[in-house]
Symmetry: C2
Subunit: 164 residues, 2 copies
Amino acid sequence: MTLLKPTLAISIILSTLAIAYADKDTELTKVPYPEGYRSWEHVKSMLIQSGHPYEDAFKGFHHIYADDKAMQGLKNGYYSEGARFVFDLLEAVEKDKTIQEGPRKLIAVMHKDTEKFSQTGGWGFEGFEGNSHITRIVSDGGNACFKCHTPMAEKGHVFSELRD
Amino acid sequence: MTLLKPTLAISIILSTLAIAYADKDTELTKVPYPEGYRSWEHVKSMLIQSGHPYEDAFKGFHHIYADDKAMQGLKNGYYSEGARFVFDLLEAVEKDKTIQEGPRKLIAVMHKDTEKFSQTGGWGFEGFEGNSHITRIVSDGGNACFKCHTPMAEKGHVFSELRD
């Protein structure tokens, strides 16, 4: 058995504690990455083009996905705890009279947790860059996202509507 | 109890038999409408514009959906009996620097049944007009669809590929 020098051992212990604390902090206050969302129901899609007011953030193809709880909410207007939507933004690539999907730019997530996200309508707002599951984009606690969604308060702050 | 006149009774019996026979015929030789496909996995999307060689048939937004068996096939290259894809074509509506989904133009279906559709690569090809579950579009037994899919024979006659 190899014995560690005391300073190294203490360093490892402190690092481990720091990581554990960071994980706990993430778990308690942040929106988790929505694992498996590509298998959720596809609600709708849209293409945002150059000249649109939100082109800097959202130019490209986007698809909206809803998990089972979010689908229930779209049907009955009530979003239960844990309901999640994903806005999946891909580059739009023009080719031979088609517009095709390119690489992923980001995903944006809405995650319902009334207590944790009480400052933003009970929804946590987060973004993840490209295909990353860990590189977060939202730096203001979701305030800007929430502000944009506020006009939809009567529909649970959700823009999407069900279609056939 | 109301008694039917004999001629009316016979007419009803013959009509019932005709309907039963038609149903049996449909079941045996035609691609069924893919009930519930909007909850299947969304594989990819594309926009086909004016000037594209297939604009007459396919101009607009299309989304590809795969059932569980078709998803397996996309992963391992083997399509088991019953695997189904849907090509869901919606009008593309330009508005304020966006292109949005409009009404459904048609859905096209690929349905794997090696025996029933042996003349078209083991896939049945069918289309349903607009939101109809009964108004069929394909009138040549799927030959034109199959011809277009033939170059993809090595990939099970499927154009779509999995993406993240």
